[in-house]
Amino acid sequence: MGITSIGFILFIALAMILYYIVPGKMQYFILLGAGVVFYLTYGIKYVPFVLVNTVAVYAGARILGSRELKHRRPILVLVLLISLGMLAYTKYTNFILSALNSLMRSERFQMVELIMPLGVSFYTFMSIGYLLDVYWKKYEPERNFFKYATFVLYFPHIIQGPISRYNKLAPQLFERKTYDFQRMVSGGEQILWGFFLKLVIANRLDILVSNAFADYTSYAGVIWLVVLALYSVQIYADFMGCMEIARGVSLLFGIELEKNFDHPYFSKSIPEFWRRWHMTLGSWFKDYLFLPVSNSSFVKRTSKKLGKKYGPKARKNFISCFSVAVVWLATGLWHGAAWRFIAWGMYHGCLTIGSTLFEDKIKKLTKFLRIDTGTKSWELFQMMRTFLLCCLGRALFRAPSLREGLLIIKRLFMRPELWRLVDGSLFNMGLNRPNFALAMICILILWCVSMLQEKGSVRQMFNKQNLVFRFVVLYVAIFSVMIFGLYGPGYDASAFIYEQF
């Protein structure tokens, strides 16, 4: 059941009715039931994975929470092996086999047909976060299995996140909720904005981007620059759209999910970009990988040795570079089992490390060049530089393979062919002139809304306006999504909206 389908809307309506008519203590059972039904609609074959993971982590956390337990580490390792083992097996087995074949220059290992459980990367990370928090005694384990299962299977976050923390979400999941009209309106507006981002912007740009990547040798460097910029907008609108729908749906049930994006394309540096993009994943990696790695005895020992030999700066640089490299390798692998994801992770790792190592030198250089870094123009330059660096990385992220990704980057610099920008090439990639223009207008709307959001809540501003104005805007927005949204093959409206889709 796709989250932009009519079926999903009906499912939400039914779940909401049940949620608000049952007694407060029973409400979480409705959420659990809805989570199970929602997950089952994608197929029963995924259920054993999520069930084993949930039972193992619940039981492991209960044992770890016991005061009589003397040897806690073996239990933690065992549960981590079960949870991460399932993730690794389903996601990385074929990648490892293929790498071994390449290494041995043979076809000794046959690829295995595997099921990739839906949302496995998300629920595994949420579960591991909970387990480690209990292990580190940050809070007590949940005693009620159904409550823990409600957290894992909470349907707005299980497929694409945000990666919620148990201690933050649980109090909201299990407290009594009453119907609140204003909250419903806010949730509805958020869902509508999510539909706009996903159906009108992301799905529209996907046509052009997919065509370009399917035939990467046909396009000049300057066209690739545009494609990569549009792909950067597409992936943002797509992911952000899903997050807005998920957070909006969650709000209908009175539960606020964590924010996953904070206008990342307004960032002035790569480290800032990663603090504003997929924030729950970033903070997960910081708490459960960066801190344990940088606090490990190996890093402490080595950094001290370096500090004694080369000074305190070298010590901090080692801690930062080593831990950042580990985190970025993991981030790359988390996104997918392919060399291009590892390369993309290392690319961002190098940029992050570079910005740490050369921070002082860059400051000195700007001072030497007498650049006034307090001006708006300098900020704009920094934002554009960050955006372009991200675009470059997207070539590796989206290309079918690492080799093709590198060839696209090569094309950017070796065959710019600037005149292609005005010879109509852009309109022969699946989007005709009117649709291209519509995409640009929608991106402009997204940009304006983002600018306003930087100053405060747009929804709060909007809800303060008079009723007639709000009704007109909402009607226009709903019909815009219905008319200009791309719903994919099988949906009648797409035939006249997009002939080539």
Binding site: N295, K304, P312, K316
Partner: protein
């Protein structure tokens, strides 16, 4: 407390540890500073700071760090 002040100032010389009350929560120190501080405090006071203690409340001010050090020294 003076010994702790010396350790903190040696690690992050540009930070006013005496007056700052939101070292971690206001991002005055970053994760790398935090880990370096932990390592130096462990050495100086011969204690082990476990992962569960790495929370903003324990590192937001000089007083909070001192309280944690005293607690772990017992």
């Amino acid at each position: 407390m003076d010994k702790l002040k010396e350790v903190l100032s040696a690690c992050c010389p540009n930070i006013d540890f005496e007056n700052e009350k939101g070292l971690v929560s206001k991002k005055v120190i970053d994760s790398v500073d935090l880990v370096t501080l932990v390592s130096d405090i462990e050495d100086e006071f011969d204690i082990t700071i476990p992962m569960e203690e790495l929370v903003p409340e324990n590192f937001d001010s000089l007083e909070a760090i001192w309280e944690m050090v005293q607690r772990l020294s017992k």
